[in-house]
Each structure stands twice: as C-alpha cells, then as structure tokens.
C-alpha cells in the first residue's frame, strides 16, 4: 500500500514529539537549541544527498547556496525603511503590506521588509544562480566538477567577505525574527524554543517526504540511471542535462531555505557559513550517512552537527570531519547506516554509554 513507505516518516514525527515532551518534562529544553540548528543544517545535507548519492554529481561548494539564502534574507530584513519616505519602492512595499514595524533590541523603532519577501527573494535568487552556474558546471565530470563547485564556493565566500553590503568579516547581526502567524516566529528567543524546534522539524519532515517522492518518481529513476551510466541514460533518451540541472537547482533551494531560516533563528550570519570547510563537512556527512541514503544522511547530519555545535569535539572539530572522510571512504564506502554496520555501531555505543553512565553517578 502506498502509505506503507511513509512509516519511517511517521516514526520520525513520533520521535520528534516524544523527544520534545521528554526534554520539557525533564526541564532540559535547552537541548532543543542545538537540535534546531542541526535540523536546519540537515536540510542542506538532504538536498546534497540526492544530488551526490542519486544523481552522482559531487558538489564541494554547497555551503555557498546556504550563504546566498542567509545573506539575502539578512540584507533585506536589516534595511531600515523607517526614514525612507517618498521612495517609490518603499512606499509600494508599505502599500502592499509587505513591511513590518517593530522595536529593535535597543528600543528604537525600525521598519523592515517582511521576511516572507526576503524568503521569496532568496529562493528566486538562489534558483537563478544555481540555474546559471549549473548549466556549464554540470557538463563537467569527476575532479573537474569537484574543483568547479569548490571554485564557485570560494568565489561566493570572497564576495561576502569582501563586500561592505554583507558586513565584510563581521557579517550581519541584529536580524529581526521571522514572524509566521500570530506569535509564532523563527527567532532565537528562548521562550519560543519549542515552537522553533517544531518549525525546523516540520521543514525537515516536509523535505524528507518531498525527496522520498522524488526518488520514487520518474525523476528519481532517471537520476539513478544517470548515476549508473550517463551515456547509457542518454542512449535511452533521457535528457540527462535537464535532470541534472533540475536536481542541482533543487538541492540549492533546499540549502537556501535552510540558510534563511537558520539566519533568522540565529539572529545573525557570518562569512564562516560559506567557508570551504563547511562545504566539505556537508560532503563528509553525506558520505558517512551512506551516499544515497536519505535517512542515513538525516541521522548523521543531526548527530554530527549537534555534537559539533555543542563543542563535543572541542578544538578537534576539523580533525574529526577530516578523519571521518578518510575512514569512511577507506573502510565503509557505502556508509555507516547499512544494517550490519548500524548494528555493530549500536552495540559499541551501548557499551560506551554504559561505561559513561557508571562514571557519571555522583
């Protein structure tokens, strides 16, 4: 039956709800903060998984799309229109109800474009850029494709690092919250923690369902045939260029949306989000989750980002991601979350947790 394949999705939703109830009951709600951030990063990784795992196109510059989304939204929502009267566009925006007036952190009145406008602008901009870049880039293969995407990522990094508009090295701060409906808003306000957790989880679930359907559809089958052999796919009459471009743009949009929402959740964005290391860590997580494994990517994405954001790896953060890359590729190229590997890992983790738990009793 059609809904049977959605069982993992229902399980995911159940886990989300149960976890949130558990932390609230145990007064440990602060865990939700890093989980929310990790969830947004996982959106990027989900898109990248389909691009790399199913379509077989490596992208070493995906953090650039995240940054494009985040920075676009940041720039648009931090333009204070309070004193801009008489400018045609500003008045038009006001008339259309697209502006929001509120108080900023210092108690001053500010007026800025609605974050929905910013979201739309960011998505459109990212899609256009991905489309334009994708056409020439996807003609390349292997190392050339990797270097071209890496180069694209570096160019975006240099642009946000070097431009006044993007705050140069300091990035953009004091970004207003993203109000959705009533008091529901994407922001770092601790009181809204639970809501934000659900918003992020909602986006992730939607993303997973979307991609699951995509993989099972005609598009997905075309992608897998391209991954298998591009010439054969071409010979079968599949317009490989169009499908590759489609999935490239789609994964870029995923990253862009994640960027927009996380920027509003964090209240700020810096050039480090477009960094080469960020792109490489996304690739690392896709690899360790199993190249073509949506659920593996999601789980590893959440876990690794969560640990990294909580500082578990301390100063060895980059070292951890680097070793993951090497170890996985040498020993477990098909990823950790194939069943046998998963069971072995689960056993090891249980042993570890037991010994840790014994040590923690004070």
């Amino acid at each position: 039956m059609a809904w049977k394949k959605y069982i993992p999705v229902f399980a995911l939703i159940a886990c989300i709800i149960v976890f949130q109830l558990a932390v609230t009951a145990m007064s440990r709600e602060f865990y939700l903060t890093q989980l929310t951030m990790a969830a947004y990063y996982s959106l990027v990784i989900l898109g990248l998984t389909v691009l790399m795992g199913y379509a077989g196109q490596i992208s070493m510059g995906h953090a650039a799309f995240f940054a494009i989304g985040g920075y676009t939204s940041a720039v648009i929502t931090t333009r204070n229109l309070m004193n801009v009267k008489g400018a045609v566009l500003a008045d038009l925006a006001r008339d259309l109800g697209l502006t929001i007036v509120e108080k900023n952190a210092y108690g001053n009145d500010i007026e800025h474009l609605s974050p929905w406008v910013a979201l739309a602008a960011a998505v459109v901009l990212t899609a256009i850029i991905a489309f334009l870049i994708g056409i020439p880039i996807l003609k390349l293969k292997g190392h050339y494709l990797a270097m071209a995407t890496l180069g694209f990522g570096i160019i975006v990094y240099r642009i946000v690092l070097g431009s006044r508009l993007f705050g140069e090295a300091d990035g953009i701060s004091d970004i207003p919250p993203f109000r959705i409906i009533g008091s529901l808003a994407v922001s770092g306000d601790p009181a809204l923690r639970v809501q934000n957790f659900y918003i992020a989880s909602f986006l992730v679930v939607v993303g997973v369902v979307l991609l699951m359907n995509l993989i099972d559809s005609r598009v997905g089958r075309a992608l897998r045939s391209i991954h298998g052999s591009e010439e054969a796919a071409n010979a079968m009459g599949i317009d490989t260029a169009r499908y590759k471009l489609f999935i490239f743009v789609l994964s870029a949009v995923f990253a862009c949306v994640a960027g927009v929402f996380l920027t509003h959740f964090n209240g700020g964005i810096g050039p480090s989000e477009a960094d080469v290391m960020k792109s490489v860590s996304y690739v690392a997580i896709v690899a360790v989750g199993g190249m073509a494994n949506l659920w593996g990517a999601l789980i590893m994405g959440v876990i690794l980002n969560y640990l990294s954001l909580r500082g578990y790896f301390g100063s060895y953060d980059e070292f951890v991601f680097g070793s993951i890359l090497i170890v996985i590729m040498l020993f477990v190229p098909e990823g950790l979350l194939k069943m046998e590997n998963a069971r072995a890992l689960a056993r090891a983790l249980a042993r570890l947790r037991n010994s840790l738990g014994a040590g923690r009793k004070q």
Binding site: I58, K141, I154, I155, G162, A284, M291, G322
Partner: protein, 296 residues
C-alpha cells in the same frame, strides 16, 4: 605605468607563478601515474617549510632543507602506503573525498605539532632588508633563489623522466597502466615513487619560498587551489603547460592590483579556473584524450 613598475609587477608575478607551477607539476606527476588528483599537494609545501624551520634550529640551513625534503617525501610514501594502497577500485568521488580528508588531517596534525604561529626560514643569502636593484625594480635576493630553484627542479624532472629507468617506467605507467604492468614494471611502486617525488619537489618549493611568504599550518590550502588551477590551465598532466600556466596566473594576479581592489586578488585564480573549465577543460596545451579522466 613606468617601466620600473611594470618590471616590479612582472618579477612579483613570476615569483609567485613559479611556486604555483611547482605545485602544479606535483599534481601532474601523481595524476599521470595514478589518475588521482591529490588535494593534499599544498600540504607537502607546508610540511617542507615547517620541517625545515624546526630542523634549522640545530643544523645548518642547507642540511635542514635537505632533511626536510627527505622527511616530506617519506611522508608522501606513508600516505601512499596507508591510504592509497587500501583503495580498491574506488570511484572518482571516493578518491576526491579521501584526498580532501587527507589534506584536512595533515593540516590539523601540523597545527598540533607546530601550533598556529607563523614562522619562516632565514633568507638563504642576505637578510630581511637586502635589496637588489634590477633595472629599477627592487627585489630581495630570495626571489632569485626561488626562480633558480624552480628552474633546476624543472630541468631535473625533465632529465629524470627522459633518461632514467625509473622515470621512463613512470612515463610508461602514465601512458598505459596495464601495458606497463605487462612489461614487468611494478606499478604499485611507481605510484609510491610518484607520491615521494611530488612531496619532495613540493617540500623544496616550500623551503625556498618560506622566507618571503612565511609558513603557517594552513598555508597549503590556497596553494593547492591555485596549483590545481595552473595544472588545469596548462592541461592536466602536461608539465610544460604547468609552467606556462603558472607564469600566466602569477602575472594576472600581479597586474590585477592595478585595476581592482587587492582584496579580490585571490578570486582571480578561481575565476580563471572556472572559465577554463567551462570553455576548454583540456587547458592550453592539453589534448582531448588527456582531459578524459584516467582510471586508477
């Protein structure tokens, strides 16, 4: 622009360009023999410089440099033994990921051995303030060392590949791995030697450029990217192309200062890379067949 300025820019461009060319040649050597693009190439340059700096504390400079080159080439061999040999018919994606992971690991290990401080080797001749006047342009004598050492490396490699047995065996592997194996050449060892050779020339370049640019644990990454750009510009696998490409990129970067803000200088190499990849991936001197990726 006066003649002196022109010459100043040209000299600056050629100096940087030669280092890029050496890194690119390092890429080419490994690529030719194995089909792998070694993203950790820049780290060899950094390791050579750092090791020489540490060693120069208790041995004379030339000896320290020689020891550093030898140690780094053993590091290259170690990388081959530990990681590359374990790859069983990997996909291109796997190889890229492994070498990227290697470059990160080496960088972090260097961070923990040498910490984040910036160091440099002493100038080979003269010191920080000596300056030579060439037709109105002023350069440090170290610049002449860089140009000299790079030329010697290129000549040496040319002779090595043309006249020695090992060199010819490596060329055979580059041409056709299976045929080389059938001729009795131990291709596994050739792979190791190619790593050692790449590491050695990278280390030497790192030593000679250290007084000018200083060495830091993360100086390898941008070098690798520019070196790769140069390698592709000249045609992947083609060392003459690498030299020409290096000079071109170096000059472009040097002259770019006169027309655009300095902060975007690094974007030039990337832009050139993208343009080349989009227009003619086989590069200036490469052929279509060479541009087709090799099998490992």
């Amino acid at each position: 622009m006066s003649f002196e300025h022109l010459l100043q820019y040209v000299l600056s461009g050629i100096t940087n360009g030669s280092i890029y060319a050496i890194v690119a040649i390092g890429f080419n050597i490994i690529y030719n023999t194995t089909g792998i693009i070694n993203f950790a190439q820049g780290e060899f340059v950094m390791l050579g410089g750092m090791t020489a700096i540490s060693l120069s504390a208790f041995m004379p400079l030339p000896l320290a440099i020689l020891a550093a080159v030898i140690i780094t080439s053993f590091a290259g061999a170690l990388i081959d033994f530990l990681f590359i040999r374990r790859l069983k018919s990997p996909s291109v994606l796997n190889m890229i990921i492994v070498t990227v992971g290697l470059s990160i690991m080496i960088r972090e290990i260097a961070l923990h051995i040498w910490d984040e401080k910036v160091r440099s080797l002493p100038y080979f001749t003269g010191n920080e303030v000596t300056s030579i006047n060439i037709l109105g342009a002023y350069i440090s004598p170290q610049v002449l060392w860089v140009l000299g050492v790079c030329s010697v490396i290129v000549v040496f490699l040319g002779l090595f590949f043309k006249f020695t047995l090992t060199g010819k065996s490596m060329r055979a592997c580059a041409s056709n791995m299976t045929a080389a194996r059938l001729c009795g050449i131990n291709t596994r060892n050739m792979v190791t030697i190619s790593f050692m050779l790449s590491a050695a020339i990278g280390a030497l370049a790192g030593c000679v450029i250290s007084p000018i640019t200083q060495t830091q644990y993360d100086c390898g990454t941008s070098l690798a990217i520019k070196g790769f750009t140069v390698a592709i510009l000249g045609g992947l696998g083609n060392s003459t192309g690498a030299i020409i490409g290096g000079v071109i990129i170096g000059l472009l970067e040097a002259f770019s200062i006169s027309v655009m803000p300095l902060a975007y200088k690094d974007a030039i190499a990337i832009t050139v890379l993208l343009v080349i990849l989009f227009v003619k991936p086989s590069g200036l001197l490469g052929t279509r067949e060479a541009a087709e990726l090799k099998e490992f």
